[in-house]
C-alpha cells in the first residue's frame, strides 16, 4: 500500500517536471553553498537580496533561478573586485532572473556548456569596466534571450567558438560592442535592440584561435541604431573598432541579414571587410589557416536609414580610398565573393560593385531556430548499458594502476580477484573509500565520484568477467604461437 502511494507521488512529481530538489537561498546566505550540494536535476532558487560572490557550476542539469518578489530582484554584486558573476561549464544549465552588477570579467560566462539557457537577466557595470556581459565560449546548443546588458568594455554579448545558439530579444547598449560573434557556427540573432555602443554588431574571424569557422548566421528583425559612442581606445587592436558602425562583417561567410532596421549609425550601417585589409592596416596578424574573405553573404528586406552621416577615424580614409565624398549605409572596405543584396537601390553604398542581386524570394522563414532538435549528448556513463559501464570504468580508471597478473602502481588484479571473489558488493563499497591494506603499494585514491551502480558494475567486471577475458586472450595467443604465426 505504502509502496503504491510512494510510486504515485513520484510519478506525479515527475509529471510536473520537478525531478530534482529545490534549494532556496535567502539574502545573507551563499548561493555557491547550494551549488555545492546540488545534484543533477536540482533547482536553486535565489530570493531577493545582495550576494557578493562568484557562482560557478561545474555540474550538469542545474537551474539557477532568481525569484523576483514585487519587483525586488536578487542581485549578484561584484563591487568591481570579483571576476565573474556566474560561470558554468556543466551541460543543461539554466541561469535566469538575476541582476548581476559590477563584475570585472563577465556577468555570465559559459565555458563549454551544452544545452544551456541564459534568460531574463539584467547585467550592468556602473563604469563600463566589465569585459563581457554574457559570454558563451566553446558552448553548443543554447539560447540567450530577453537579457538587458550594458557597461561592457568589450562586447555586451560575446559568442565565441560556439555552435547552435539562438540569441533573441536582448537589449545591449553602452558598451564597446553591442554583440560580437567570433569563429562560431550557426547563430540565430533575432529581435534584439542594439544601440548606443561604439559599434553595434561584429562578426569576427579572429586569427590565432583553434576554431577557424565564422558563419552560417541568421541576423533578422533586429534594431541596430545610434551606435556612435566614442571609441575609448586609441592603440592596439581596439583602434580597429569602427566607431559609428551598425554591423561589421569581418571575413564572415554565409550570413543572412533579413528584416533588420539599421539607422543613425554615423560611420556606416554595414561595413564589409576582409581579414587581409585589417592585416594591411596593422590591426591583426595574418592566419594562413583562415579564409580571409567575406563570401556568400545575403542582405535582403532590411531598412537602412541615415547611416554614414558623419564617419570617423579610418572609415573616412576608406571612403576616400573608394572615391566617395561622404559616408553611406553600406561600405565595402574590401570584398569577398558571391555576396548579394536584394534591395540595392534602397540603400546608399560604396564599393559594392561586385555584389549580385539576391533572388527575389530570398527568405530565412524556414529557420525557426538553430538549436538542435535533440539535446547534445555528452555521452555520460549512465547512457551506456550497465555491463559496458563496468568495462569502461575498468579501462579508464582501474587499468591506470592495475594489470591482471603483474604489479604496476597497485597490486595485480588476480590478487584482488581472490580477495573479493565472494563479496562483489563489499569490493564496490571498499573502492569508494579504500583503507590502506599493503605497505608495499601506495594508498589507492578513493573512487567516490562514481555512482553506487557504476562502482558495483566495475567490481562485477573485475571479479566476474575479467578472469574469463584474460583466459580467452591467453588461449588465443597460444593458438597463434602454435600455428606458427
Amino acid at each position: 500500500m505504502h509502496r503504491h502511494l510512494a510510486l504515485f507521488i513520484c510519478t506525479f512529481l515527475f509529471c510536473l517536471g520537478a525531478r530534482g530538489e529545490i534549494h532556496v537561498v535567502n539574502d545573507g546566505e551563499s548561493i555557491q553553498a547550494s551549488v555545492r550540494v546540488a545534484k543533477a536535476g536540482d533547482t536553486i532558487r535565489v530570493m531577493p537580496g545582495t550576494y557578493e560572490e562568484t557562482v560557478y557550476i561545474d555540474k550538469d542539469d542545474i537551474t539557477l533561478s532568481g525569484v523576483i518578489v514585487n519587483g525586488e530582484w536578487p542581485q549578484l554584486q561584484g563591487n568591481n573586485e570579483l571576476a565573474d558573476g556566474v560561470l558554468f561549464s556543466g551541460s543543461g544549465v539554466t541561469v535566469e532572473n538575476l541582476r548581476i552588477s559590477n563584475y570585472r570579467a563577465n556577468g555570465i560566462m559559459i565555458q563549454g556548456g551544452r544545452n544551456y539557457a541564459v534568460r531574463h537577466n539584467v547585467i550592468e557595470h556602473d563604469t563600463r569596466e566589465m569585459v563581457y556581459g554574457i559570454f558563451p565560449q566553446f558552448a553548443k546548443n543554447g539560447v540567450v534571450e530577453r537579457n538587458i546588458v550594458s557597461g561592457a568594455s568589450d562586447a555586451a554579448i560575446y559568442i565565441t567558438m560556439t555552435e547552435n545558439t539562438d540569441a533573441l530579444y536582448n537589449e545591449v547598449f553602452d558598451s564597446v560592442f553591442g554583440v560580437e560573434f567570433e569563429n562560431s557556427d550557426q547563430i540565430l540573432f533575432e529581435g534584439n535592440n542594439v544601440h548606443d555602443n561604439v559599434a553595434g554588431l561584429l562578426t569576427a574571424r579572429f586569427p590565432g584561435l583553434p576554431v577557424k569557422t565564422n558563419g552560417r548566421y541568421v541576423i533578422r528583425n533586429n534594431f541596430i541604431h545610434n551606435n556612435n559612442e566614442p571609441n575609448p581606445y586609441d592603440s592596439g587592436l581596439f583602434e580597429a573598432i569602427p566607431q559609428g558602425t551598425g554591423i561589421v562583417l569581418w571575413a564572415a561567410d554565409d550570413v543572412e541579414f533579413e528584416g533588420n532596421v539599421i539607422y543613425n549609425n554615423d560611420s556606416a550601417g554595414l561595413f564589409v571587410v576582409t581579414h587581409d585589409l585589417w592585416v594591411e592596416m596593422g590591426f591583426v596578424s595574418p592566419d594562413p589557416e583562415i579564409d580571409a574573405y567575406p563570401d556568400n553573404n545575403k542582405v535582403f528586406h532590411n531598412m537602412f536609414w541615415a547611416n554614414g552621416n558623419s564617419p570617423s577615424g579610418y572609415m573616412i580614409d576608406l571612403y576616400e580610398k573608394h572615391g566617395a565624398e561622404k559616408g553611406a549605409d553600406i561600405l565595402v572596405g574590401e570584398d569577398g565573393r558571391g555576396n548579394c543584396i536584394f534591395d540595392a537601390s534602397a540603400v546608399s553604398s560604396v564599393n559594392m560593385k561586385e555584389w549580385q542581386t539576391c533572388d527575389s524570394d530570398a527568405s530565412t522563414s524556414d529557420v525557426l531556430t538553430v538549436q538542435l532538435a535533440e539535446p547534445v549528448s555528452g555521452s555520460p556513463l549512465s547512457e551506456l548499458p550497465v555491463e559496458e559501464q563496468g568495462r569502461f570504468v575498468y579501462q579508464v580508471i582501474c587499468s591506470g594502476c592495475h594489470a591482471t597478473e603483474t604489479s604496476m602502481i597497485g597490486p595485480p588484479l588476480n590478487v584482488v580477484q581472490a580477495l573479493w571473489a565472494d563479496d562483489v558488493e563489499g569490493m564496490a563499497e571498499w573502492i569508494k573509500n579504500p583503507t590502506r591494506r599493503r605497505e608495499d603499494y601506495p594508498p589507492m585514491p578513493p573512487i567516490d565520484y562514481l555512482t553506487d551502480e557504476v562502482r558495483l558494475a566495475v567490481a562485477r567486471f573485475i571479479i566476474e568477467e575479467l578472469p574469463e577475458r584474460t583466459r580467452r586472450r591467453r588461449e588465443a595467443a597460444a593458438a597463434e604461437t602454435s600455428s606458427g604465426l
Binding site: Q111, G378, G400
Partner: protein, 411 residues
C-alpha cells in the same frame, strides 16, 4: 646547491676508468625482454596496438571527430587526438632507447639527460645543455648551452606541433632532428644505425619490436620506438581531474578560487591554456623576458620568416607545470608566481624586443590582488600527476651508464 662528496668523486672516477675498458658488447649477456603489456591507462586492442583510455573520452560527442568548436574548451572538453596504437614491445624498446646514451655521437648523452622523469621530463634548466656536457638535469654542466629549455614530455602524444617553435610535425621528425643536431646528440643516421646494429642485444630487441628479419637497425625505427614511448607518458589523473569527473571536494577553496580566476576572462588564461591539456597548441607571442645571459629569441619567425611569428612559441601544456621550473621558453621567469605576476603587469612589460605582434589574449594590466595570484599558483599545482611515471631501466642494452635515479640533494 649540489655538493660533491669524496666518495661520489671516487665512484665517478672509477666509473670513468671502468668505462674506458668496457666494450659496447658488455651488455650482450643481459637478458632483455620487451614487455608485452601496454603501459598504465592503455588498452591492448585487437590489432595489437595500445590505445589510451581516459574518462575524458566520455566527453566527446559520440560518433564525432575532434575539431568542432565546442571541443576546445570548458571543464569537460574532450581530448584531442592521441598518437597511440603502438605495440607494447615497441613502446618498451623506446623506453630502453630513451635512457641509453648510445644514441648520441659521443655516447654520453641520452634523451633522459634533458627530459628526466624526476624533473617533469624536462631538466630544471632555463636553457638546456646539449653536446659535451656532464651529468643530467639541473646539475648538467659544461657543453653547448642551447637557446631554449627542454619542454616537458608529459602528454606529448597529444601535440601535433613539436619543438617550441613548431618546426616538426611529428614526434618521429622531432626525434631525428635532435639525434642529428650538431649541438645536441650530434649523431648521424649512418653512425647511429651502425652502432645499434653492432650491439647484439639491440639486434634482438629491434626484431622483437618490429619483427624485421634484417639485422640492420634503421634510424626510422629508432624514431618510431622513441615516439611510442613518449606517447605513453600520460598525465590526466590529477586532483583537478578528480574535480572534473565529479568529486566536487577535490580542490580546496583557495584552489577553486584560483581556478575561477584562471578561467575568468579577465586573466584569459584558458583562452590559450584550454583544458583538459591546458594548451590549445596555438603559436603565441607573449613577450616573455630572456634570462640575463641570453639574446632575444625570434622563435617561430626562424621557421616561417613571418614578422608576425617573431617571438612566437607553442603554448605549453600546464600539466605537471609545478615540476618544470624555471619557466617560459628560456627560463626567464623562475617561479609560477613570477609567471602570474608577469601577466598581471600587462602585455608588453619587460618585452625582449620592440617589434612584437603580441597575441591578442595576453592581458592588459590586471591589478590582481596578492591573494588571487597565490590562489592561481595553488590552482596550477593541482594539475600535478606523475602517477604513471615509467620505470627507469637499471641497465640499457649498450651497457653504458645511464642517468642516475632520483639523485639526493646531498651527494
Amino acid at each position: 646547491m649540489y655538493r660533491l662528496s669524496t666518495p661520489t668523486i671516487l665512484i665517478s672516477l672509477i666509473g670513468i676508468g671502468v668505462l674506458a675498458f668496457v666494450s659496447l658488447a658488455a651488455a650482450d649477456e643481459a637478458n632483455f625482454r620487451l614487455s608485452d603489456q601496454c603501459p598504465p591507462s592503455f588498452s591492448l586492442e585487437p590489432d595489437g596496438g595500445c590505445d589510451l583510455r581516459s574518462l575524458y573520452q566520455l566527453y566527446a560527442e559520440p560518433g564525432k571527430k575532434f575539431g568542432a568548436p565546442a571541443d576546445y574548451g570548458g571543464v569537460r572538453a574532450p581530448l584531442p587526438r592521441h598518437r597511440g596504437g603502438y605495440r607494447p614491445e615497441v613502446i618498451d624498446l623506446g623506453r630502453l632507447l630513451f635512457f641509453d646514451p648510445v644514441l648520441s655521437g659521443d655516447r654520453t648523452l641520452s634523451c633522459a639527460h634533458c627530459h628526466h622523469p624526476d624533473h617533469g621530463f624536462a631538466d630544471g634548466r632555463g636553457r638546456s645543455i646539449g653536446k659535451g656536457g656532464r651529468d643530467h638535469g639541473p646539475s648538467r654542466t659544461g657543453g653547448a648551452v642551447l637557446d631554449r629549455g627542454a619542454p616537458t614530455l608529459w602528454n606529448i602524444g597529444f601535440m601535433d606541433r613539436l619543438f617550441l617553435d613548431a618546426r616538426a610535425g611529428s614526434l618521429e621528425e622531432q626525434a631525428i632532428a635532435v639525434l642529428t643536431s650538431p649541438e645536441e646528440m650530434h649523431n648521424s643516421p649512418q653512425l647511429l644505425e651502425e652502432t645499434l646494429s653492432d650491439i647484439p642485444a639491440y639486434q634482438s630487441l629491434f626484431q622483437q619490436a618490429f619483427g624485421d628479419e634484417s639485422n640492420r637497425v634503421t634510424i626510422e625505427q629508432v624514431a618510431v620506438a622513441l615516439s611510442a614511448f613518449q606517447s605513453s607518458l600520460v598525465s590526466l589523473s590529477s586532483r583537478y581531474d578528480r574535480y572534473v569527473h565529479g568529486d566536487h571536494d577535490a580542490l580546496t577553496q583557495q584552489e577553486q578560487t584560483g581556478h575561477n580566476w584562471f578561467r575568468s576572462f579577465l586573466t584569459r588564461c584558458t583562452q590559450c591554456h584550454t583544458p583538459p591539456l591546458f594548451t590549445n597548441q596555438v603559436m603565441a607571442v607573449v613577450g616573455a623576458p630572456e634570462p640575463v645571459d641570453a639574446v632575444f629569441d625570434q622563435g617561430a619567425q626562424g621557421v616561417t620568416s613571418s614578422e608576425h611569428d617573431r617571438g612566437a612559441f607553442r603554448v605549453p601544456s600546464l600539466r605537471n607545470i609545478e615540476a618544470t621550473a624555471p619557466y617560459m621558453h628560456s627560463g626567464g621567469l623562475d617561479t609560477l608566481q613570477d609567471v602570474v605576476e608577469f601577466y598581471n603587469e600587462g602585455v608588453g612589460n619587460v618585452a625582449p624586443d620592440d617589434n612584437l605582434h603580441f597575441h591578442w589574449h595576453v592581458p592588459v594590466e590586471l591589478n590582481l590582488k596578492a591573494d588571487v595570484i597565490v590562489a592561481m599558483v595553488a590552482f596550477m599545482k593541482t594539475l600535478t600527476d606523475e602517477s604513471f611515471k615509467p620505470v627507469i631501466p637499471e641497465v640499457v642494452p649498450s651497457g653504458l651508464p645511464i642517468v642516475e635515479v632520483s639523485p639526493s640533494k646531498d651527494w
